[in-house]
Symmetry: none
Subunit: 459 residues, 2 copies
Amino acid sequence: MSLEQVLAQVDEALPQATARLEELLRIPSISTDPAHADACVHAADWLVADLQSIGFDASKRQTPGHPMVMAHGSDTGGPHVMFYGHYDVQPVDPLDLWDRPPFEPQVEDTPKGKVIRGRGSSDDKGQLMTFVEACRAWVAVHGSLPTKVSIFFEGEEESGSPSLVPFMTDNADELTADVALICDTGLFGDATPAIVTRLRGLLGEEITITGPNKDLHSGMYGGIAMNPIRVLSKIIAGLHDETGRITVPGFYDDVAELPEDIAKQWHDLGFSNAEFLGEVGLGVAAGEQGRTGLEMIWSRPTCEVNGISGGYEGEGFKTVLPSKASAKISFRLVPGQDPHALRKSFRAHVEAQLPSDCSVSFKGHGASPASEMTTTHPAFEAARGALSDEWPNPAAYVGCGGSIPIAGYFKDILGMDAMLIGFGKDDDQIHSPNEKYDLSSFHKGIRSWVRILDAISKT
Amino acid sequence: MSLEQVLAQVDEALPQATARLEELLRIPSISTDPAHADACVHAADWLVADLQSIGFDASKRQTPGHPMVMAHGSDTGGPHVMFYGHYDVQPVDPLDLWDRPPFEPQVEDTPKGKVIRGRGSSDDKGQLMTFVEACRAWVAVHGSLPTKVSIFFEGEEESGSPSLVPFMTDNADELTADVALICDTGLFGDATPAIVTRLRGLLGEEITITGPNKDLHSGMYGGIAMNPIRVLSKIIAGLHDETGRITVPGFYDDVAELPEDIAKQWHDLGFSNAEFLGEVGLGVAAGEQGRTGLEMIWSRPTCEVNGISGGYEGEGFKTVLPSKASAKISFRLVPGQDPHALRKSFRAHVEAQLPSDCSVSFKGHGASPASEMTTTHPAFEAARGALSDEWPNPAAYVGCGGSIPIAGYFKDILGMDAMLIGFGKDDDQIHSPNEKYDLSSFHKGIRSWVRILDAISKT
């Protein structure tokens, strides 16, 4: 079957593909907001109908939350791929920071080229539609797909995926394929596609220090009574040593050094700390001394305070010596680290630093290990070659600092490796006002999947 | 004029006096919150009308902020006293920790006796009304006051008193008397009244650290981007050394040791750290090593964090790496320390610790020096004798850890010494939920002022 004809079909049908994406973007499927539950169902129905229109055996599946969409193409005999995306989107507040209504998408001309503007345009409706459009082009030209394709969309990714693991467990057979494809990540650079093979895990902890049994007047008690903000600050300040290393006992025990070949690949990507940090107003890499910027965000574990709170936080001033102070602290974990063991170690570390008359309570917020793909499945090299054919620069195996739990679930529940390939850009403003997806990401994304399906079919 | 008759009148009219206090407590005069500005005016009007009803020439005086109340009794020829109190109150949050609505006061029976519960019951509406009720009793019995009395109430004490100094300067003649009386402090113990002769000053600073120019995703940026909460925590953690001393350069340069006679008096008060701290659930004195508890709260300077805020503080978890983090920090100052010089030193100290790509902004919240009274005016010994007549134990000259800047202003602007006499108790929960004032404090407070006015009239 001719690949070139399919790519030409993608180019020709881009206006129609864009119009379809805009139609999907107009459905306000905010999963975290119960007021938008109907919109989530609407988005699922839309996708089922669209997939049926190109020959998939597609259906909506109920869950205790928002529905899943499952679709299967006909069995062509080639390797079986399972594509994952999510049709739900982030909330849109603060609404007044949007330049246009978030659910009235439009193609805009910008100094950097055309973009599709609207909530979900990049995360993840635009990305998932790159795959659907690639399938449509194959079917339009050849009447069938080059390999066996299944599709799995969820509608709760932006609200913690409560139904995902039970659904995957209950439907393990149906969801198991030779390899998973996930489109929820980004390009490494404008001209450099990437396949994510390392994802950091996440350990979240909320700690609350209690000093006095009630809020006190800092005049009456200041000096003699221990202030829990002072205790909390000291604990937080001590979580990193002067070289940027995390001081929780045993934290690095199971952290391996990066293999030399990967280190070399990353070095060749020419990542610039100054450029990356400059875009957010910073200039100095804050992680462990002696590590590269890419190591800091991809292969080294971190500790961040995501929130801190205590005493009087309103306008003006109140001379209170508060009873409590609390912080939300998260650790990004790398392969080898056990989140449950580290939770214990962290809690013991905090307790060991408490003054004898203060107490601490802990609340866990998630504990997921890091994942590392084994890239020996032939689909990996096939996809890397296909991406390298489409883009100016060769594709790279990269890391991802964030946590994409679905990749771990495919591995742990279904025993499948996942290839994370996406076309988002750092400036897409996902989760923020004025989210966009470059029209070039959409167009070349579709072309990329056309090539990847072709390449995988030949493995 | 018979003192005993006036005291009997106080005892008899206590229910009416309590009802009047409850009426004043129902006015939610939170000065720091602009939404309550009308309530502040309402409280001032209420006081003007009440003072007029007992023969004072009373009026409300406009300021750029909340109004002052000024009132003058007729000139009886005796020494002229100027009584000060404040009608504004602290905010009430966290509201859910109140056992009853803060502005619906009520007399409650407790295991320790009857209390008047409500915001401002102790600080300072209950206290100021002890003096007003004492005047009312004198007028009820004798048709006039025993000495020349003026009254001065402000409505901005809990929000930094921005209008106070200009008003005192502009109205210096009208505000000058022989001695000032201030009712905003407490008993030393249930049976031991006190006259405060040392007050700590206050320097308030709000600092905001900015790292990245927007909130970041802690997965994408965690590790490489500096987190402003980490910077802020380190600065706060470093404000005290391991011996409890404050590390701001020059902080102790002008701090004198306590004179031996005062140290002896304080020692004789038999203050117990364990008992004082035990009441608020603590057990270890947190101040400078080698200092007594009374030194820590009365004669040594302190540094407290009154509030801290940054990142995501709501329910659940959000993996944000925030752009900003801020803290409200206050220093209690002792005689000799210059708040303006220390503000500069503090700011320089913070700036010196900033990573090169983070910035800090400061907002000052008040800067008042400590005060120390000279007790040679005969009114001091007259008041000490009168208090000793009313209470089981003799009255003591003590220190006060809080800042009552008005005492310093009376001295510096008007050349008057001030006697700080009050009837609050340590467990009044001022500035906290469930504030109360013992009915016995209110009752014996009124009786104390009746005696003090009598004693001063005879000097």
